[in-house]
Assembly symmetry: C2
Homo-oligomer: 401 residues x 2
């Protein structure tokens, strides 16, 4: 009998209890062993929940109970989630989590503490919600060197961008609608400013490279400045605007950033709409593979949390290779000003076009708004061209995926 | 040091040698142990290959060498691939394969022999080429009950259907082009008649249900009768025609079949084009997830073969839960005549329309060809309606996904 404790009885925590209960029979059959939810930690009581008898307000009940060998942390936020995770790992308990903030900030330390204590720290649900991506990267692309990762990693922003594209909604209207539907928080900053996507892309980049970058240190642009004129121009170029978390290894150095990009409709990411997520991985032997599915939501995310719990229970007596990450140093990270990709410049058609753009075709999307797509140029070159436009005439610049 | 033998030095066999060699450093780092390709079995010699010194023509060299613990079978066909696999497993050697014919026909017996002998029989590369799908089904969707699987499982037919849709090529012209490009064999029957897809869907269905159906026993229709008029009609209904391997568990009974289907463009499978494959899985907690990538090809398929080899080496001293399948009995399989889904009837506009269809909208795609999409009806009901049309007026009937 394996005893499990759940930290945090919010959306994902209660979903995890539900998956463990609803599918108990098939999971126990697959495992060949039984399990039991022994505690649920939350500050609140849930008198009407079927799990109410399991609620405790005292973390020490869990920490000090030697019967608890698996802890599922779904509290969200850095503290006390990080502190409780650390304490559990040090006490020889396995921990699984959906908390990308903790994994992206403290992942190096927590993986090392897990390794030292002979337990595991797993976080499939921290990226892509219910989509299997972390374990497939470790186990299924194990024969490959991973070159590039590009992902639609945030469902809220993808919902907003889909509304703008398909219904011609403005950013503000689409955000309001997302909030009404419960897809966006009252304070939507973590989503719309790209912070959530930044946390997720550094986790994926660390799986590919072994180096974890501070998510606050990567170039991060959200979707708040995208206009309907931009989405119209994207159509002119056969593209869709998506918020892309991107990571690439160039000459052994890591490049990672988050920004809205023009995604050509030939790229499968261009066709991932609404709250769905997709992660496209380019690896040296397999080429391009994509994982697609629900990037958030109670039961999908809980499905991934429980997959981690099952992985731990199934291998509880085996030696499993631990995840070993290092903190990325400055020398591990590329010089972002040298990152190179095609750009789209969107500008007032009356503007004087910089000489370096004269060789490209100009497209007009109406309302006197023009656009040019360049070949690959660096950030530095793009900045130089932008300066040549003068502020009043240049409307926006997009990277192309 | 782990010694590996490769059976068959064709496309995938030579790709496997290449992946094992090209990525040797990173794979050995991940494994924390070294490996070596000791033999390659083939009837031919390859004097110009860098692997020529490893070639043997005698299977007994491999079978009798106690140093060989992992055998990669990439011979294709049932015999001697099945016989060699069985002999290796009985001799206590782990076997990995890309051979869907052997897995779909002899999987129950071979998994059981592996279990009895304490070794593993893995076949990630048998479905979806380089796309991780089998291990994710086992490990990542482990917290779910799998309800439905729908897959574009054959790259050749998907290439042909994409050419028909996008370029207006006839089936014959598109097939010829696929043959010129090396995507289709001189004898394309296994692909265009749906036999390859049938083998793959029974493997996926067995992973979901534990019951392996004889692939020759499932209803299988290929793409040879699809006309440009059909692809035009699909567009009228907002659909794309795809060859779909389908499996569903209805009231505890397995339903599996292969046929061309109208796939609504809202379904992500509708947008998978050319030689790519996609497998969409619906499971009770996560909802819909899709795995996308190259469904064939030398290095992609070899990437999956080597992932299996790595899995075996990484867990060589651990007890891993074996795959246990049973042969599906008649009582495990549903009555196909009761399978229910919407249909599209394509007919001469001059036809008398059966009364049961009178409530539906009629679409016309030009050339006097009309179409009606029904609500969900059973196979039996569809047959009855088809008979009412009379042979001369009914052009074709499609299931809708």
């Amino acid at each position: 009998m394996i005893n499990i404790a759940i930290l945090g009885f919010g959306v994902v925590g209660s979903g995890t209890a539900e998956v463990l209960t609803e599918n108990k029979k098939i999971i126990e059959e697959r495992l060949g062993c039984e399990y039991n939810i022994k505690y649920i930690l939350d500050l609140r009581d849930f008198p009407d929940s079927p799990f109410s008898s399991l609620i405790t307000h005292d973390f020490k009940d869990i920490l000090d109970d030697p019967e608890v060998s698996v802890v599922a942390e779904m509290m969200g936020g850095s503290h006390p989630a990080y502190d409780f995770t650390k304490a559990c790992l040090e006490a020889g308990k396995n921990v699984v989590t959906s908390n990308k903030e903790v994994v992206s900030t403290f992942g190096v330390e927590l993986c090392e503490i897990a390794r030292k204590n002979g337990v595991r720290y797993l976080f499939e649900a921290s990226v892509g919600g219910g989509i299997p991506v972390i374990r497939p990267m470790i186990n299924d692309l194990s024969s490959n060197k991973i070159n590039k990762i590009s992902g639609i990693l945030n469902g809220t922003t993808n919902y907003i961008l889909t509304s703008m594209k398909n219904e011609g909604a403005s950013f503000d209207d689409a955000l309001l609608c997302a909030q009404k539907l419960g897809y966006a928080e009252a304070n939507p900053s973590a989503d719309v400013d790209g912070i959530d996507a930044a946390r997720k892309i550094v986790i994926l980049a660390a799986l590919a490279s072994g180096k974890l970058i501070d998510p606050r240190a990567i170039p991060t642009v959200g979707i708040t400045k995208i206009t309907l004129a931009d989405t119209e121009m994207a159509k002119e170029f056969g593209c869709t605007i998506k918020l892309i978390g991107y990571s690439e290894i160039v000459d052994g150095k890591l490049c990672a950033f988050v920004s809205p990009r023009f995604v050509p409709t030939t790229n499968p990411l261009s066709r991932i709409d609404d709250v769905f997520n997709g992660i496209l991985i380019n690896a040296n032997m397999v080429g391009d593979v994509m994982f697609y599915g629900p990037g958030a939501g109670k039961l999908p995310t809980a499905s991934a949390v429980v997959a981690d719990i099952i992985d731990i229970i199934a291998n509880i007596d085996s030696e499993v290779k631990p995840i070993v990450w290092e903190t990325a140093s400055e020398s591990d990270i590329n010089n972002f000003s040298e990152y190179s990709c095609p750009r789209v410049f969107i500008f007032n058609c009356k503007a004087n076009i910089p000489a370096s753009l004269s060789k490209y075709e100009i497209k007009e999307s109406g309302n006197n708004i023009c656009g040019i797509m360049t070949d690959s140029i660096t950030e530095n070159e793009a900045d130089t061209i932008a300066a040549e436009f003068g502020n009043n005439n240049l409307i926006s610049v997009y990277r192309v995926l």
